[in-house]
Structure formats: structure tokens, C-alpha cells
């Protein structure tokens, strides 16, 4: 049987060692082709051009030493098997290399053809095996996710039917029912809703796991969201005679967060708190600033329940974890709620944790980033450590033509925002996160690193792109205004950080003016209004 040629890339700087290895390889039973280079850089270049069957790697080269050498090769070509050639004195290092993904090592002192050949063959086989296992694992994960998505869809169909008929009966649309019957049906409905929540969580957790969970951060007032949560959870708290209170720091800044997702987190935490607090207890939702961490807002939910034991504390945010103390509370759910909370908070750049003593209640706390305009502006408004020469503030205002707006107004506005993001230069313009909207109209702001004259082409682009949204012209009217951001001239002497702060302050002032319906810079006429 014809043996395929083994292509060996030998990276070895010592000519004597290199010759010896080459000789041993050629002496062997199988056809080999050896490409020998003396430096790591040459080796990496060669790997970029062609993929050998195996790499024989000396760790001490003129341009790289020790562990760095195999790490760089592994990083460059993770799929090519590596056999390290090691001196007698650094066998420990060679062993470490094997732990980190190198297939094998050989001691240079006693190389035989047999030995070398077998090592190479095993390395190649093992690498292929690992790759195929990896592929299988990937396929399995993909299959599992598809399966989850499919199952959640299939479960919803009969659930919808149950939901419809139960509510038909409950609403008396199929004839009058007795109070007892109504009670029984309400119990069915409650279970239907629990089942629904579980199906939703399953899909959500699958999304979180595959990185498909998305958030759409806005600039928002957290206090309002907390009020909304408490209003929604009030009936459940009253039913158990549990006090539900709010404590919001008046100095709380705006936060950058997805309102729907954070509402989900808050409801989940408050719902848990109510569930695990005995009657007559209390649940408090607080939001405050912490001096040591001024860029984040801290939100906490405290209860007077039985607390969570230390062993569960470390695991409680893990997927599918069930607190053994909580399971007796008849239906504990799937153990996905806190996992989903953690993933949502993490996507926002915050963290979530738990403080609890058994018998003393628990406090769940999470953080959300402040809305900080300088932080958002920093990556786009400076170039080579200097502030760019000119800026304009563009306001794109959409107003719904039907009042109240149609139900998909929110989606239309979202679609426009995404189009807007595609109309700007990502490296020098910034579409600001949307502000709270006033129902029938939505304003988006763009800080663009350009002057009034040159902004015209951007405006044209925005107009053209928005006009392509189906039915855009029948759904809303569009107004675009552009204002120059006039910065104080003495600013040049300040540090870049201060300059960005000044720019952010100016922009904030202009937006505030603009949202109050006044011209954004009443004192100067540098403005174009390309709507007419």
C-alpha cells in the first residue's frame, strides 16, 4: 500500500540538531518531506502559506523562548499537531506544553527513527481525533438548540388552545358558570401561565447560552422602571400580606439599559422575593449610587424570607440550579430565572450577586452602567489623541401620522434607528442611544465629526435610506435638523479628557434645548434645516 507523504515543518535553529532530525526522518520506513526553518517568524510565515502534517518544534529559538514559542504556534495554527523537541534539562517545560495542547515531546538526546516516526504518527492521529470530537460536540450543541426552539414552538400551539378555551369559559362566553367552576378555571389558567413562562425561559436560556440574546440599550430613568415593577407585583404581594416598598436615591443618574430586559430582571427578582417571604414580611426595591464605583447604579431587592444557605449561594445563578430548600415550595420552576437575569445584566456590562444569611432574608443586587456621554463619545471624537476639528449634532425626528400610533410604531422606530446606524461612519460618528419616547414621536440624535457643509451628504443618505422602509411615508413624517457644535476656542489647552467632557456638556445642552422645542443654539445662526 502506498503511504502518503508526511509533510514535516521543522523549526530548529541548531544546525546539528536539525540535520540529525532530518536524517532520522529520512531513514524511516515512510515517505517524508522536511521543510526546515531556523526562526519562529519563518515558521509562522511558512504556516501561513501551507499546512504541514506535523510541526517539530524546538522551544528555544533566536526570536522566541520557552513557553512563548509553543503558545504562539498553537495560537497561529491550532489545528496542526505539534511535537516539541526538548533538551534533557527542560523536560518540565515540555510536559507543560503537552498540557496546553501540544501533542507530544521528544528528548533530543535519544532520537531514533522508530521513535520519531511513531511519535509523529500518533500526534497526527490524536489531533484528527480531537478535531472530530470537537465537530461532534458543535453539532450536538446546534442540534440541541434547534430542538429547543422547535419544542418551544410545538408546545405553544396546544397551550394556546387551552388558554383560549379556558378564558372563553371564564369570561362567560360559553354560558354562565358557578363561582366554584370559575375558581377551578382560574387554577387551570394559573397553571397555563406557569407553563407559558417555563417555555419562554427555556428558549431564553438557550439564546443566552449561544450568545444570541440581544439587548437594545436606551438612555432611561431607572426609577420609572422600578415604579412599574412594583405596580405590577403589588397584587401578588397584597395577596400574601407582604409589604412592597421602594427606596430610590434622588441623585440617581440616567442609566444605559434595555427597559424591557431590565423590567424582566426586576420582575423576576421581586417575584422570587415575594415567593420566599412569609406572610407579613417585607420586600424592598432600592436603587442608589455607591461612592467607590461612580460609573454604575446599584439596584437591590431585599426580602425578609428564610435566606439562602452558603452552599447554594455560589450556585444560585447557574443554569438549572434549584435551591434544595426552595424546592418544597411546591412548584419551583426550571431553575432558569436567575441564570437569565445574570445573562441580561452581564450583557449590559453589569454584575449581579447575592448577600444572604440563613434566617435573615436575602438581598439580590445588580449594577447597570450610568449613561455617560463622554464615555460613549471618547472612541469616535478623537483621532491620534486629539479632538477632531468640527462636530455637528443631527436630530432625526419621526412623528407617527396616526394618533394614537399603530401598534407596530415601536418596531418602525427601531427599524429607522438601525438604518440610521448604517448611514454614519462608525469610527467618527455616534448615533446616541434613544431617549425615552413620547408615544407618537421619536427623536434620534447623531454626533458627527464633520462640519455643516459636509454633513449635507450624510443627511441625503439618511433621507434616501429611510424612504426605502416599506410604507414609511404613509406611517410617519420626518424632520432632520443639523446644528454646529460650537466649542470654546481656549479649549485647545485642556487635556483630551477635559475636551471630550466639554464637548459632551455642549451636546447635552443642545439636546435639552432641542427636546424642549427651542432652537438648540439660539445665540448663533449656524443651522441648516434641510426639511424644506
Amino acid at each position: 500500500m502506498d503511504q502518503p507523504t508526511t509533510h514535516v515543518l521543522l523549526i530548529e535553529d541548531n544546525p546539528g540538531d536539525a540535520d540529525l532530525v532530518r536524517l532520522r526522518l529520512v531513514e524511516g520506513k515512510f515517505p517524508v518531506e522536511v521543510n526546515c526553518v531556523h526562526r519562529l517568524s519563518e515558521g509562522l510565515d511558512s504556516l501561513a502559506r501551507e499546512t504541514p502534517s506535523v510541526i517539530l518544534l524546538d522551544l528555544n529559538l533566536p526570536d522566541s523562548h520557552g513557553a512563548d514559542t509553543f503558545r504562539r504556534v498553537l495560537e497561529h495554527s491550532p489545528d496542526v499537531p505539534i511535537v516539541v523537541l526538548s533538551g534533557q534539562d527542560d523536560e518540565a517545560l515540555a510536559t507543560r506544553a503537552v498540557h496546553q495542547g501540544v501533542q507530544d515531546y521528544l528528548l533530543k538526546g535519544n532520537l531514533s527513527s522508530n521513535h520519531l516516526e511513531r511519535s509523529i504518527r500518533y500526534a497526527v492521529e490524536r489531533q484528527a481525533l480531537i478535531r472530530s470530537l470537537e465537530m461532534t460536540r458543535k453539532h450536538q450543541i446546534e442540534f440541541k438548540n434547534q430542538f429547543m426552539s422547535h419544542v418551544s414552538h410545538e408546545l405553544r400551539t396546544p397551550l394556546t388552545c387551552i388558554h383560549q378555551y379556558v378564558t372563553l369559559l371564564l369570561d362567560g362566553l360559553a354560558g354562565p358558570i358557578s363561582p366554584d367552576q370559575s375558581d377551578h378555571l382560574k387554577t387551570v389558567l394559573k397553571s397555563v401561565n406557569q407553563l407559558h413562562a417555563m417555555i419562554r425561559d427555556l428558549l431564553e436560556a438557550t439564546r443566552a447560552e449561544t450568545g444570541k440574546m440581544r439587548i437594545e440599550p436606551r438612555c432611561l430613568v431607572l426609577g420609572e422602571l422600578i415604579q412599574q415593577t412594583v405596580a405590577m407585583m403589588r397584587p401578588a404581594a397584597n395577596e400574601k400580606k407582604i409589604g412592597l416598598e421602594i427606596g430610590i436615591d434622588q441623585r440617581l443618574p440616567l442609566v444605559l439599559a434595555d427597559p424591557d430586559r431590565i423590567l424582566e430582571v426586576l420582575i423576576n427578582l421581586v417575584d422570587n422575593a415575594i415567593k420566599f417571604t412569609p406572610p407579613e414580611g417585607a420586600v424592598v426595591v432600592q436603587a442608589c449610587l455607591v461612592e467607590a464605583d461612580p460609573t454604575m447604579v446599584y439596584v437591590s431587592v431585599t426580602d425578609t424570607g428564610r435566606g439562602i444557605n452558603p452552599a447554594s449561594k455560589a450556585l444560585i445563578f447557574d443554569r438549572l440550579y434549584q435551591d434544595p430548600d426552595a424546592v418544597d415550595n411546591n412548584r419551583a420552576g426550571l431553575g432558569l430565572g436567575l441564570y437569565i437575569c445574570r445573562e441580561i445584566v452581564r450583557l449590559h456590562g453589569g454584575r449581579i450577586w447575592l448577600a444572604s444569611e440563613p434566617g435573615q432574608g436575602s438581598t439580590f443586587t445588580f449594577t447597570l452602567p450610568n449613561y455617560s456621554l463622554p464615555k460613549l463619545l471618547a472612541p469616535v471624537v478623537a483621532y491620534q489623541d486629539r479632538l477632531r476639528p468640527a462636530f455637528v449634532l443631527v436630530r432625526v425626528e419621526l412623528t407617527s401620522l396616526s394618533n394614537p400610533p399603530r401598534s407596530n410604531w415601536k418596531e418602525t422606530a427601531q427599524q429607522c434607528l438601525e438604518i440610521l446606524r448604517r448611514c454614519v461612519y462608525l469610527d467618527k460618528d455616534l448615533v446616541l442611544p434613544p431617549m425615552g419616547s413620547s408615544g407618537a414621536s421619536e427623536s434620534f440624535f447623531v454626533v458627527a465629526s464633520t462640519d455643516l457643509e459636509r454633513s449635507a451628504s450624510m443627511i441625503t443618505r439618511i433621507r434616501e435610506q429611510l424612504a426605502r422602509v416599506p410604507d414609511f411615508q404613509s406611517k410617519c413624517s420626518l424632520a432632520i435638523t443639523v446644528d454646529e457644535v460650537v466649542l470654546p476656542s481656549q479649549m485647545a489647552t485642556e487635556s483630551l479628557e477635559q475636551q471630550i467632557q466639554t464637548l459632551a456638556d455642549h451636546v447635552t445642552g443642545m439636546i435639552t434645548h432641542s427636546m424642549q422645542g427651542r432652537p438648540s443654539r439660539p445665540e448663533n445662526g449656524n443651522r441648516i434645516s434641510p426639511t424644506n
Binding site: L168, S407, Q473
Partner: protein
């Protein structure tokens, strides 16, 4: 005032029956269809004020129906509320782009469904023409 007619399209006849009852109780006339082909045929015959549309349908799925509706002059203006068990993350935007007025995931809250239907019903008067700024 004459009652407005709603066309309910879903391949689950049990659900269609329940939705018919619910919509009748909310003062609507109701027509039904259980596949894509008869959905278009019924819409052409009855010219409903609004269509509640499932996505997974035999003989032309919901997207095919949306596409047909958009391309038939007589039907293009009818608002469509999609009511589907499918994942909104993968289908909502697509449905709205295909011309749907709203997307609700099953099981939907009845009150929400009725609100969405009422909000999207065709107005009695054609909308006032608003000049498009150039």
C-alpha cells in the same frame, strides 16, 4: 353601524373556533380559513377589515399569504395581525417587512389581541394626505 369583518387564518380548527367566539363576543363579524390558498380566496370574496394570520399554514404559509396580499391591489390595504407560535426574534422583523401591521406570539393575552386588532383596523375615512417633505 355595521359590524366590521375579521378574517381568522389558522391551521388549527379548534383555535379558529375559539377565536371566532371571542371575536363575535367583541362585536365583529368573523370569516375563517385554515390554509394559505383559501385565506387569499376568502379575503378576495369577503374583503375583511382586518386579517389575523398564523405563519405555519398548509398551501402557502403566512409569508406567502402576506406577499400575495401586498401584490393584489384590492387587498393591499388590509391590515394583517400575525399571531404565531414562532420565535419573534427570528420572525417578527421579517413579518413586519413583508407588510404585517403587528406580530403577536401565541399564546397571546386576549386583551392585548383585541387592542392590537382595534388599533389596526382600517379607519372609516381614508387617511388625510400629508405632504412628504423633499
Amino acid at each position: 353601524m355595521t359590524k366590521q369583518r375579521i378574517l381568522v387564518v389558522d391551521d388549527d380548527p379548534d383555535l379558529v373556533r375559539a377565536l371566532r367566539l371571542r371575536l363575535k363576543a367583541n362585536n365583529f363579524e368573523v370569516s375563517t380559513a385554515t390554509d394559505g390558498y383559501s385565506a387569499i380566496a376568502t379575503a378576495q370574496k369577503e374583503h375583511p377589515a382586518l386579517i389575523v394570520l398564523d405563519l405555519g399554514l398548509p398551501a402557502g404559509d403566512g409569508f406567502v399569504v402576506l406577499d400575495r396580499l401586498q401584490n393584489l391591489d384590492a387587498l393591499a390595504g388590509i391590515p394583517v395581525v400575525v399571531l404565531s407560535a414562532r420565535d419573534p426574534q427570528a420572525n417578527e422583523e421579517r413579518a413586519l417587512k413583508a407588510g404585517a401591521a403587528a406580530f403577536l406570539q401565541k399564546p397571546a393575552d386576549n386583551e392585548e389581541l383585541m387592542n392590537v386588532i382595534r388599533m389596526n383596523l382600517m379607519p372609516e375615512q381614508p387617511p388625510q394626505h400629508v405632504a412628504w417633505p423633499v
